[in-house]
Structures are given as structure tokens and as C-alpha cells.
């Protein structure tokens, strides 16, 4: 079987990937320290447990990224002719399912705690030879858990957009929102301190809703990716105008009568086919070769685009053209570009 061409990102992007890798390794290190600190102070607080699970799960996107990053430049071979770009999708699917299930579990747990009117017991602890209420220590731990992710999240966000890295983006977004978990947890613990036993479970419930939301968002995104959705932009999550641009560039060639493209995302590269209807049949091989080079030079993400020659009336599959014009899909494409 013919494999796909091997992919090499431009040098400045490679530098970006190296930076992203460093950031993700940092993230894992910080998260591990946070996970340890929160675990040690957790006690019987429901909110702390929820925050801990969320911290634990925020390890998943960085790990998924690092795994994918290892496979990213691996050459396609006869066994995996389309290359290894999809590796991240698989790890992400697993992570998203786990995230959602954990979120639901904690939500159930907190609702049960509220229904059963379970009063969280939080007693004394000794730190540096002094006895203090453990709640204070929990608040310190939660504050610690809030700060590094927010900083790292902001650093990763712009990099994710530049590299068209959705795993990195999801990770950055999750990190950025992490402080909300910490604040919810702190409010819960302070509530318990005030004698409001329900505050802890309510805080845990809020955190678990956030975990569920993270999970659902990731699940939706990864399923869309694995289903070859229309390529989307990383930040706004809107249809990418790039396929339309490829089509327009092809139509501008003087020997081209009409063009269509069909692209999908594989990791951070776009692959697929460009369908070209020529005006005449002169010198088609070198013309196609030129067109292909032109297309691939438009954007670094466009990779191994197959050029397919079709008669003009077959640019759109049988009978679909009428259907397409009669439905909303054409105006929607226009609207997407705006």
C-alpha cells in the first residue's frame, strides 16, 4: 500500500511544539504536586474529594498531548498508511469518557450527601507543631491548587491556536477554569466552618457539574474529530475557512473549469482530496502537479492533498447538487466564512 507523505512542520512551528511539550511536562509536575497536597489535606470533605478528582483528571490532556506528540512525526508505514496523527484522538476519547463518568459519580455522591443530610466532620490537624482547624489547611491547599494551572493555561492557550493543537487547547481551557473549582471548594469549607453542613456538598456538586461539562465538551469534540467533521478553528471552534480558500485558489487557475475540496483533520494536519474539472486535457499531469504544490503551499497544515480529475458535472456527487442548493447547507457555508 502506498503510504502518505511524511509530514514536517515548518521550523517555527517545530519550535512551538517543543515549547508546548515543555509546558505540558511542567503541567504534569505541578499537577502531581497539587494532587499530593490536596490528597493529604482532603479529610472527609466532599468538596475536597471533588477538587482532587478534577485535579487528577486534568493530568489526562497533558498526557494525551505528550503521547500524540511522540507519534506526531512518526513516518507512515505499510501497516498504518495514513500515519499516526490519530493517536491523540484515541487517548482523548478514553479520557473524555473517564472525565464524564467521574463527574457524574461525584455529582451523585454529593446529591446523596445532601439528601441524607450528612454533616462533614473536620477536626484539628497539627502543622509545624501547632494545632489548627483542618479546614484552614484545606483552604491553603485549594489556593495552591488554583494558581499554577491558571498561569500555565494562559501560556498554553495562544500556543494551541498557533499550532492548531486541539488537545493542547482543551487542556489550556481546563486549566484556565481550574480556579473556579478551588474557589467553590474554599467557599464550601468556609461554609462548613460557619456551621452550614450543606455547604460542602453543594460545593462538591458545583465542582462535579464543571467536571461533567469538561467531559461532555471534550467528548463532543473528540467524537466530531473521529467522525471527520468539517475542519474547525481551534479557538472559536467554528468551521475553518481554509477549505473554501483552497477551492477558490484552484478555480483561479486558467485551465480549471471548476473545483471542489473534501478535507478532514488528522491531528493538526488537514488531509483530503481536491476535485478539479479541467477545461481541456492538455498537459494534465504537470498541471495537476503544479496545482497540488500550490495548494500545499497555502497553509502549513495542508498535507498530502490528492488531486482528483472529474468532469464538470461530477464535481458534486450524483444528484447532490440540486439537493444542496435546495437546502440550507450552502448559505450556511457562506455564513461560516463570515
Amino acid at each position: 500500500m502506498r503510504t502518505m507523505a511524511s509530514f514536517e512542520a515548518p521550523p517555527e512551528k517545530e519550535e512551538g511544539f517543543r515549547k508546548a511539550k515543555r509546558l505540558e511536562i511542567f503541567t504534569i509536575g505541578w499537577m502531581l504536586s497539587i494532587i499530593l497536597v490536596v490528597f493529604l489535606t482532603m479529610g472527609s470533605s466532599q468538596a475536597m474529594k471533588a477538587a482532587w478528582v478534577e485535579d487528577l483528571l486534568s493530568l489526562v490532556p497533558p498526557i494525551a498531548f505528550l503521547i500524540a506528540n511522540r507519534f506526531r512525526n512518526r513516518e507512515p508505514d505499510s501497516k498504518f498508511a495514513y500515519g499516526y496523527h490519530r493517536a491523540s484522538g484515541i487517548s482523548f476519547l478514553v479520557a473524555a469518557v473517564a472525565l464524564t463518568i467521574f463527574g457524574l459519580y461525584i455529582l451523585f455522591d454529593s446529591v446523596m450527601a445532601l439528601v441524607m443530610a450528612e454533616h462533614p466532620t473536620i477536626g484539628l490537624t497539627t502543622i509545624f507543631g501547632r494545632e489548627i482547624w483542618s479546614g484552614w489547611l484545606m483552604i491553603v491547599a485549594l489556593t495552591y491548587s488554583a494558581i499554577p494551572p491558571v498561569i500555565l493555561g494562559r501560556m498554553k492557550l495562544s500556543l494551541a491556536e498557533e499550532l492548531h493543537e486541539k488537545t493542547l487547547f482543551t487542556d489550556a481551557e481546563m486549566n484556565k477554569a481550574d480556579w473556579l473549582t478551588a474557589v467553590a471548594g474554599i467557599v464550601g469549607i468556609l461554609g462548613v466552618g460557619m456551621g452550614w453542613w450543606w455547604a460542602d456538598s453543594v460545593a462538591a456538586g458545583i465542582i462535579s457539574l464543571d467536571i461533567c461539562k469538561d467531559g461532555m465538551t471534550s467528548l463532543k469534540e473528540v467524537v466530531e474529530d473521529l467522525m471527520d467533521t468539517h475542519p474547525t478553528t481551534v479557538k472559536e471552534h467554528k468551521p475553518d475557512p481554509l477549505p473554501e480558500r483552497v477551492k477558490q485558489e484552484l478555480e483561479r487557475l486558467d485551465w480549471v473549469d471548476g473545483a471542489e475540496v473534501r478535507l478532514r483533520e488528522m491531528g493538526h494536519v488537514y488531509v483530503g482530496e481536491a476535485f478539479v474539472a479541467p477545461k481541456d486535457q492538455n498537459d494534465l499531469i504537470s498541471r495537476l502537479q503544479y496545482a497540488r504544490e500550490l495548494v500545499e503551499s497555502l497553509d502549513w497544515r495542508l498535507h498530502d492533498i490528492s488531486m482528483v480529475l472529474v468532469p464538470k458535472d461530477r464535481l458534486v456527487p450524483n444528484g447532490r447538487e440540486k439537493q444542496r442548493e435546495s437546502t440550507q447547507s450552502a448559505p450556511r457555508l457562506e455564513q461560516w466564512q463570515g
Partner: protein
């Protein structure tokens, strides 16, 4: 995700945390959801007691024992006007405690009790190692095949058997002529020498109603300060 919140609120999380911390430190935290501490002050302290020598001894007149003394001192400290003793089994008393109809349960409770999830346990205020003690100074090199006296019920029995020793049940350890397994303080009061063969650790706690954190913290502070006295009191326990 949380983007909307951030954009809408524009509140720096640190400012928020700081404000909350200030609010928090102003008042006496933690407080009790069911106001146990406040109610006991000037009122009745309702104590569940489980017979467990030397911690709680039940007699016809008044209960006595190491933990009974501690409870009396604590009642004085928090200003309770009287103490109501309620005798029962551990399960009965704990069940009542979860319904807030008792303020405290004592009776040689240890941290490993399965009730720890349903009621509030104090931090261990006294720990004692269960060890093998010997009458003389002739330390046995290992426990293999050694006959060791234990006073049932004791978790040490199973641990001894697992380590290859032969546990022998005795109702009164002071009559033992050979090695015994007992908490370190008891080995001392029997006039024996503890060996390096430790079997398990007993972490003594008291139980309060679940979530009564103000009450719990008050009791924990009291017990921590009493730890040396507990050791002294155990030395005076007659074997």
C-alpha cells in the same frame, strides 16, 4: 467552559480568596451546625459509655476509669452543669450519637472502628503499641512457636498466630508466667519488659456527633493537652 464567567466577572480570583479569608478569620470557626458546644455550656453533657477496663468501668454507684476522668475534667472546662451517663453497647450508643441525642461516646474506642465514617472521631489522643512482653530480660529472638498469653478479646491473637506464635487465652494476664501480648502501658504495669515484637497499634479516640466541628475541635484541644496525664493515669491502673 468557564470563559464566560471570567469575561463577565472580571474578579481576580486572588482578590476573592483574600476577601473570603478575611471574612473567615473574623469569626470563631469552626462552628457547630447543631450547636452542641453552646448547649453544653451551662447545660447537661450527655455521655454514652461502653464498658472497657481501664477506660470505662461501670459500677453500681458511678462510672470510673481513665476516660471517665477525662470527660469529667472536660465537662468542667466547657462549663457543663451536670453530666448524664448513658450506658449501652457501642452500636446502640453510636446510633444515638448520629441522631444528636448524645454529645459524646467513650469506652476505649479506637480509630479503626467502622463507625469512623458515620460519627465524628477525635484525633487519636493516646496511642499505644501492642507488644509482646516478657517476665525477665531474656528476649526471644523470634516468635516462631512461642507461647504468648493474650487476654481476649484482642486483635493481637490473630496477629500472633500469623507470625507463628502460639496464642494462649487468659482472663487475667497477671497470672501469666511466660510472655504476654498487651498494650505497652499494660506490660509495664504487669512489671514485664516490652520486646521489639510489636503487633499492632491502638489509637484511642472519643466520638462526637457527626459534623459538630466546633465541639470536636474544642474536645481535641483539651485531649491533646491531657496526653501526659493519660500516661500517668494508666500507670496507676491496678493490674
Amino acid at each position: 467552559m468557564a470563559k464566560r464567567f471570567v469575561a463577565g466577572g472580571c474578579i481576580s480570583p486572588l482578590v476573592l480568596l483574600f476577601a473570603l479569608a478575611c471574612v473567615g478569620s473574623g469569626c470563631d470557626m469552626p462552628r457547630d451546625p447543631v450547636n452542641t458546644l453552646e448547649r453544653v455550656r451551662g447545660g447537661t453533657l450527655r455521655v454514652g459509655i461502653v464498658e472497657n477496663d481501664p477506660w470505662v468501668r461501670i459500677s453500681e454507684s458511678e462510672p470510673s476509669g481513665v476516660e471517665i476522668d477525662l470527660v469529667k475534667q472536660f465537662a468542667d472546662e466547657v462549663g457543663a452543669s451536670r453530666i448524664e451517663w448513658v450506658q449501652g453497647s457501642e452500636d446502640e450508643l453510636m446510633e444515638v450519637l448520629t441522631k444528636y441525642d448524645l454529645d459524646l461516646v467513650v469506652g476505649g474506642l479506637v480509630q479503626s472502628s467502622p463507625w469512623s465514617k458515620n460519627v465524628g472521631f477525635t484525633r487519636p489522643y493516646f496511642q499505644s503499641e501492642v507488644v509482646v512482653g516478657i517476665p525477665g530480660t531474656n528476649h526471644p529472638p523470634d516468635l516462631e512457636g512461642l507461647e504468648v498469653a493474650v487476654q481476649p478479646p484482642s486483635a493481637a491473637e490473630a496477629i500472633l498466630a500469623k507470625k507463628g506464635a502460639v496464642p494462649v487465652r487468659m482472663t487475667d494476664l497477671s497470672e501469666a508466667l511466660g510472655p504476654v501480648a498487651a498494650p505497652a502501658w499494660k506490660i509495664e504495669s504487669l512489671g514485664m519488659t516490652p520486646t521489639r515484637h510489636d503487633l499492632t497499634k491502638l489509637k484511642h479516640v472519643m466520638a462526637v456527633p457527626p459534623g459538630e466541628n466546633g465541639w470536636l475541635v474544642r474536645l481535641e484541644r483539651f485531649l491533646l493537652a491531657r496526653e501526659p496525664h493519660v500516661k500517668e493515669a494508666l500507670k496507676e491502673v491496678r493490674p
